[in-house]
Structures are given as structure tokens and as C-alpha cells.
């Protein structure tokens, strides 16, 4: 049981990093990225391709860390000035282009079959690394969110023309946010590849992006701890439905479908009744007495 718990913790930590990275983009900046699985997939494939060429693991890791934000810049440079619903479809398309390439060009990384990646031998080590990454991502997101940088991100989220009339380039902030958050997701992807030990296109579907979105909407856009809790709830719900299926005797395919239904319901109900999430963004109160 404890081994399973450790494994579940690993998944929670990795998907929390994804939720944090989306939170910096959407929760703080208002960037509607429907292709957040792209940097994750790039990180995972960087790790996988590194292993294919017998390179040490850290080469793949560095490649993932570098390639993911570069991809982010490539996507945002032409599309950064689009309105947010356009940007949503563009990022969705970008993620699919990458996945289709990996699926249809087997010479890169095995096509539909995918490729093996050296698997972290020790479950506890994997969990430790994932939690460590999550802590780092959280610290970075907190530092960004609580400082003047995050303050300006929120201005851009509320009204980008206002930010521009104050002499700030919204594009520059969006670019920097994209670099930081895609790097985060890229590293999460590298770690994911080494935890799962295998990389294949079926792990990077549009639906996986929306898992992250559900976590952010559930937890509270703009609140780092909120989205981590959101991710934890979803992943734990996901793994625990296996026990529910066994305990209730319901066929596991039915339970799997009901779980998806719950995810859909969460998105809808949160928007209808609690749009700020379970843990809404807090008001930052500063003491002005004596000034």
C-alpha cells in the first residue's frame, strides 16, 4: 500500500508542476493556453531521444529544459498579439502538430509504439525528485506571483491596454512568462519520462491539457497553493476510482467513464457556482500606516 501511495504522490507532484505552470500563464497573466501539454511532451521526448542516442540522462534533461521554452517563444512570437480565444486554438493546434509528428514519423521516436526511457529504479527516489521539482516550481511561482512582476502580470490579465499605457510591453511580459512556465513544464516532462520509463504519443493528448485546466479551475486560478490542491484532488480521484471500482464491483470501464464525467462536471459547476476556484486568489493587503 505504501508503495502505491508513494507512486500516487509522484504523479500528484508532477501534475502539480503542470498546474503551477499553467497557473502562471492563465491564473496570473490570463494567457489561455490549450496546448500546455506541448512543453511537457517536448521535455519527455527530449529525455527519450537522449536515451535513444545513448547520451547521459542529463543531456536529455537539459535539452528538454531548453527546447520547451524555445518552442514557447516560437509559438508566442507570431501569436502573442492574438486575442485570447485565437491564442487558445493556436496553442491547441501547436500541441497537436507535435503529437502528430511523433505519431506519424516513427524514425524520430518510435511513432505510435513510442520508445523506452531509462526508468528511475527506485520508487522513493522518483517521488523525492518529483516533490523536489514541485517545491522548486512552487517557490518560483510564489516569487513571481508575489513580486512586482506578478503584479504587472495581473494588470495585463485585467487590461493589457492599461499595462501598455503605463509604458510596459504586454508582449514582453507574456514572453517571459511563457519561457518560465514552459521550462517548468518541460522539466516536468523530462521527469515524467523517467518515472514512466516510456514515451508514446498517447500520453500527450488534448485531454491531458484539459486535465491540467480542470486542476487550475478547480483549485483557484491565480493561487499557487490552490492549483496544487486542485491537481492533487484530480490525481487522487483518478487513482482512487480504481479502488472504488473494485469495492463496488462496477465494471472498471464504467467507473473510468464516470470519472471523466466528474471531471467535466467539475469544470462546468466551478464556472457556474465558484468561478474563483476552491481557493480564490487572495487580496494583498499592505500596511500604509506611518507613511
Amino acid at each position: 500500500m505504501i508503495d502505491f501511495a508513494i507512486y500516487a504522490l509522484t504523479l500528484v507532484a508532477i501534475w502539480s508542476v503542470m498546474a503551477i505552470s499553467l497557473n502562471i500563464q492563465f491564473g496570473m497573466t490570463g494567457l489561455v493556453n490549450f496546448g500546455q501539454i506541448l512543453p511537457f511532451a517536448i521535455g519527455a521526448y527530449a529525455a527519450a531521444i537522449g536515451v535513444q542516442y545513448d547520451l547521459p540522462w542529463w543531456v536529455g534533461a537539459v535539452a528538454g529544459l531548453v527546447a520547451a521554452p524555445i518552442a514557447g517563444i516560437l509559438v508566442i512570437l507570431p501569436a502573442g498579439r492574438s486575442s485570447q480565444d485565437y491564442w487558445a486554438l493556436i496553442t491547441l493546434g501547436a500541441g497537436e502538430i507535435f503529437r502528430l509528428t511523433m505519431l506519424n514519423v516513427p524514425s524520430i521516436a518510435g511513432g505510435a509504439d513510442g520508445v523506452t526511457v531509462s526508468r528511475l529504479p527506485d520508487r522513493t527516489l522518483a517521488a523525492g525528485l518529483a516533490v523536489a521539482l514541485c517545491v522548486v516550481a512552487y517557490a518560483v511561482a510564489q516569487q513571481i506571483g508575489n513580486g512586482p512582476f506578478g503584479r504587472m502580470l495581473r494588470v495585463i490579465r485585467e487590461d493589457e491596454t492599461l499595462a501598455a499605457t503605463l509604458g510596459r510591453s504586454p508582449m514582453s511580459f507574456r514572453m517571459r512568462v511563457t519561457v518560465v512556465s514552459w521550462a517548468m513544464a518541460g522539466v516536468a516532462g523530462v521527469l515524467y519520462a523517467h518515472v514512466i520509463g516510456y514515451v508514446a504519443p498517447t500520453s500527450f493528448l488534448v485531454t491531458d491539457t484539459f486535465l491540467v485546466w480542470t486542476a487550475v479551475i478547480l483549485g483557484g486560478p491565480g493561487r499557487n497553493i490552490g492549483v496544487v490542491i486542485g491537481a492533487a484532488i484530480l490525481i487522487l480521484m483518478s487513482v482512487s476510482t480504481r479502488f472504488l471500482a473494485e469495492w463496488s464491483g462496477l465494471p472498471s470501464d464504467l467507473v473510468a467513464n464516470l470519472r471523466l464525467a466528474v471531471f467535466g462536471l467539475i469544470l462546468v459547476l466551478m464556472f457556474l457556482f465558484r468561478p474563483a476556484g476552491l481557493f480564490p486568489e487572495t487580496k494583498r493587503v499592505q500596511n500604509v500606516d506611518g507613511l
Binding site: 507512486y7 505510435a112 513510442g114 498517447t202 464491483g249
Partner: protein
């Protein structure tokens, strides 16, 4: 549809009546099954799981193994590596199963095989034919044989049947392209010509353009392999577009035939022998008794059945611990003749030299019309 709803209702009722927690009593032997119950290729996967179920029923009806009943725990992989690992971790660590029988492509089988090896557990593969599966000796055993022999025999067979030009159509994965390459090479070596090669990505809504291209190339025959929903869709497109050249296949029995009448007498090929033997016939009979309203089953029930059977025999001979099972498996397999014929393993637990039969689709089912030595 009705079945699914009904199942759900019955299960829900049973869940209320039954005592939860009593599922894993001490006098049972838990065995894990991982299949993709959601996601792609669901039908095929369910067939494999049913094969396992039939074997477990048979064993339990005969009094179990040393008086202990087999208790199957079925988990969904969603056809995703992460979920397959979650399922396997749960089965091995929480349910403490010594062995798991699994359906899935190499993207799922290999990570779970790696996990099984690290944990000292047993995994029996019923569906993946990647050469890499041999990298986990003592942990991963395959009931499904490797491809190249079948492909080679198929190429020769097609030439012998009189075809001089062929088109190939296979799914774009190692299994599909492996067969196409082996069959194509043998066919060309015999003096034939390949006029069009198609390797399609699985899960497309239709293969109309591919089939049209094949028709336009006017081959004497079509050579391919396929399974599940995709094969059914290819047949549908071919039928609707009026393609009527003969169809030669590796493992024709794993195809999901779309229209019995149209397919009648048109499809033949090289397959693992055995389904036509007594063991296979008995499994088929048991299947029809248990699921009388269903269509003809796919060959995957035989692989699922054999996987459960050899596992049970290994438990009987060795013991319920994973290491005991792994040690006993190679020797029990030697004397086992199952629904898929005689099983021969190389020293890594991978199936080789499967019995090869020539089978034809006639009157709604496959008939064995010859064997290959």
C-alpha cells in the same frame, strides 16, 4: 448498449448486497488483468480479458488450484502508459498479485514489464510483439509469438496462390510494418511485385483514400494485417468501394470481420495454428455458452485463455510466489497444448516457432485448410 447498461445495473445491485472487502479472502489466488477498457481498441482488449475469464472459470469449476480459487482483478489502462503503470502498481503492491496478464501495445507492455522486473513480479503478454519484450527475462513472458516467421510464410503463400502483384495495407507500428516488410520481401524474392504500400495510423475514422489508391493500383491481391476497429473500417471501405480481389493476411483470425457475406471465401492467410484443435474448440464453445448473444469472438480470447492456463499450471507446479511462478513457467509450457497450439519459448520467455496453419474465412468463421511445417 443494452448489455452495458444492464451490466451496470446488475453490478450496482450486487455491490449493495455483497460484502465489500471479502473479495480477497485468504483462500483465493489473486491474478491481475490489465486491459484497455476505455480509449482505443476497446473491443479487442475486452476479448482478451474474456479469454482469461473463461480459463479462470474453468479452473475454479474444477476446484481451483489446490483448493484455492482464482480471483481475477481487472484494471483499465486507458491505452496510456501512465495508467497502465498505475494499474500495475496497484495490482502488484496493493492487491499483492504475483502475476498480471496484460493486453496492450508495446508502449504499455514495456513500462509494465520493466516495473515487473524491478519488483520481481511476473507479467504475461498477450498482445504485443515488440522484439524489446525479450529484455525482461524472468519477468515478462509472451503468449503472442514474434512476427517475422509468419510474414515470411505469408509472402510465399500469396505467391503460391497465383498472385503476381500485391498491395500491402498494415497499421503503422512495428507489428504492422514488420509483417509487411517480411511478407513483401518473401513475395518479391519469389518473383512478385508490390504495387502499393499503405501503413495507416490507427484510429482514423476512415481509410477511403488508402483503399481507393489500392484499387487504382489494380493488384492481384491485397496483403495485410490488422485488428480491432481499424480492420473493420478498412473492410467497410473496401466493400463499399467495390474492391473484390482476394485478401491475404497474417493472423487473419485477429481481424474484426465487418460483413460476413462479403468476406466469405475472400480472406485467407497464415495464422498461429491451434484454434482449430480441441483446445480452441472447447474455448469457443465455452465463450458461446457464456456470451450467447455476442458476435463471433476474436482470436484474442485464445491468447487470454492460454495465458491464464499456463499461469495456473505454473502456480500449481511451483507455488504462488512470483519467483516460483517465473521459475516454473518455462517447464510447464513445454508440456502444455492450449487453445493456440503448442507453445515454444526461447530462453527469454518469448514465444517462437508457433504452429502455423493456413486458414480461410468461410461461412462466418475461420477454417483450417492446411498447415505449414
Amino acid at each position: 448498449m443494452k448489455r452495458n447498461l444492464l451490466n451496470a445495473a446488475v453490478f450496482a445491485a450486487a455491490a449493495i448486497v455483497a460484502q465489500p472487502g471479502a473479495l480477497l479472502a485468504a483462500d483465493t489466488i489473486p491474478v491481475g488483468v490489465i486491459a484497455n477498457l476505455t480509449g482505443q481498441d476497446v473491443n479487442t482488449s475486452l476479448q482478451m480479458a474474456r479469454g482469461v475469464e473463461l480459463a479462470a472459470d474453468e479452473i475454479n469449476a474444477a476446484g481451483g488450484i489446490d483448493g484455492k480459487m482464482i480471483e481475477l482483478i481487472v484494471e483499465d489502462s486507458e491505452y496510456k502508459a501512465q495508467e497502465a503503470l498505475t494499474a500495475a502498481t496497484k495490482l502488484y503492491q496493493v492487491n499483492q498479485v504475483p502475476a498480471v496478464i496484460m493486453f496492450g501495445g508495446s508502449s504499455l507492455m514495456i513500462p509494465v514489464g520493466e516495473l515487473a522486473q524491478q519488483e520481481g513480479k511476473v507479467l504475461i503478454n498477450t498482445s504485443s510483439s515488440s522484439a524489446k519484450l525479450g529484455d525482461y527475462p524472468g519477468a515478462l513472458f509472451s503468449i503472442l509469438p514474434l512476427d517475422n516467421i509468419v510474414g515470411k510464410e505469408l509472402g510465399q503463400y500469396v505467391y503460391d496462390k497465383g498472385a503476381r502483384s500485391i498491395a500491402t495495407i498494415v497499421p503503422n507500428n512495428t507489428f504492422g510494418t514488420g509483417i509487411a516488410d517480411a511478407a513483401g520481401a518473401a513475395f518479391e524474392a519469389a518473383g512478385g511485385k508490390i504495387v502499393r504500400k499503405v501503413a495507416y495510423t490507427e484510429g482514423q475514422p476512415d481509410y477511403r483514400a488508402d483503399v481507393q489508391a489500392i484499387i487504382a493500383a489494380e493488384p492481384d491481391a491485397l496483403v495485410g494485417v490488422g485488428y480491432g476497429d481499424d480492420s473493420r473500417t478498412v473492410f467497410k471501405n473496401a466493400r463499399e468501394l467495390g474492391f473484390d480481389a482476394p485478401w491475404y493476411a497474417a493472423y487473419p483470425s485477429i481481424f474484426a470481420v465487418e460483413n460476413e457475406e462479403w468476406m466469405n471465401g475472400k480472406l485467407s492467410g497464415v495464422d498461429n495454428g491451434g484454434y482449430a484443435n480441441d483446445g480452441g474448440a472447447a474455448v469457443l464453445a465455452a465463450y458461446k455458452a457464456k456470451w450467447p448473444d455476442e458476435d463471433e469472438p476474436l482470436a484474442h480470447i485464445y491468447y487470454g485463455y492460454d495465458a491464464m492456463m499456463v499461469l495456473a499450471k505454473a502456480i500449481e507446479a511451483g507455488g504462488v510466489e512470483s519467483a516460483e511462478i517465473a521459475a516454473a513457467l518455462p517447464s510447464v509450457v513445454e508440456s502444455y497444448v492450449g487453445a493456440t497450439g503448442k507453445i515454444v519459448w526461447d530462453d527469454r520467455g518469448q514465444r517462437i516457432d508457433p504452429p502455423l496453419d493456413i486458414i480461410e474465412y468461410k461461412g462466418g468463421k475461420f477454417e483450417t485448410v492446411g498447415t505449414i511445417d
